[in-house]
């Protein structure tokens, strides 16, 4: 897949970073404002998809088997599961226990484990949506 015109490339250069940063903002502030892991992850994946569309598949060194992205996705899910299991082995022996100190409401570092869940879910969603995009769009053209 080849890239698009210079205008698109230049605009993408400016926008992609901002989109990615905004997605990261939504993920990190998931426990304070509407949004969270899934919504922010989709925005972050949007930045990757924009770059891939504008610069073509060769730019990101994409291969047929996206092992890197798949591994990221699986490891992020495993970390979420491990975080929830830690709650099982600490204190009250319940699953999904909020075992970290809660902090004060409204600050960035508060709400115990919720920001951690949000961050790893965000990573997972980013990589999985990027894989979906690659599987459905890019590799369709290669064979046949």
């Amino acid at each position: 897949m080849k890239g698009m015109t210079t205008i698109v490339k230049k605009t993408t250069q400016i926008l992609a970073g901002i989109i990615f940063l905004y997605g990261a903002y939504v993920v990190i502030h998931g426990h304070l404002t509407p949004g969270g892991g899934f919504a922010g992850g989709v925005i972050m994946a949007g930045a990757f998809i924009l770059v891939t569309l504008a610069f073509g598949g060769g730019f990101l060194n994409l291969k047929k088997e996206e092992t890197g992205s798949t591994a990221t996705e699986n490891i992020a899910v495993l970390i979420v599961i491990i975080l929830s299991l830690v709650g099982l082995f600490l204190g009250a022996k319940v699953f999904f226990l909020n075992f970290l100190p809660r902090g004060t409401v409204g600050e960035l570092v508060s709400a115990g484990v919720l920001p951690l869940y949000n961050i790893f879910v965000g990573i997972e969603v980013t990589s999985s949506i990027f894989i979906l995009f690659l599987a459905l769009v890019i590799f369709k053209e290669e064979d046949t």
Partner: protein
């Protein structure tokens, strides 16, 4: 009451599309329409007149909030919908490669 009936009408529009369309991709789109109508219904259900988004602000104790549960449900359902739709599209692409057509009338190996 009218918005709720509109949701149900949208649901039926999607169902009509699934039943009558002959193109695989259009069937997938109709399924998405049904899905969205259900999400809209959930979102309407939780709305309370004058409510704010449900993140508790300790500065305003008397504030009215909308029902957060349907929103959580809709978010989960959207994620599930994303998974089903993308799997459906992947299967459609594979079918297109095998049969060289999107027309459902020509894809009839299985009968009986």
């Amino acid at each position: 009451m009218i918005p709720y009936w509109m949701c149900f009408a949208l649901f039926l529009v999607g169902l009509y599309g699934v039943i009558t369309r002959r193109n695989l991709v259009k069937i997938a789109i109709s399924l998405s329409i049904m899905e969205v109508s259900t999400f809209l219904f959930f979102a309407l259900m939780g709305y309370i007149e004058g409510g704010k988004f449900p993140i508790v602000d300790p500065a305003e104790p008397g504030q009215l909030y909308v029902d957060p549960l349907p929103q959580a449900l809709v978010l989960t359902a959207i994620v599930i919908g994303l998974a089903t739709t993308s799997l459906l599209m992947a299967v459609i692409i594979r079918i297109y490669r095998k049969y060289k057509t999107f027309d459902i009338r020509e894809i009839r190996n299985l009968r009986g």
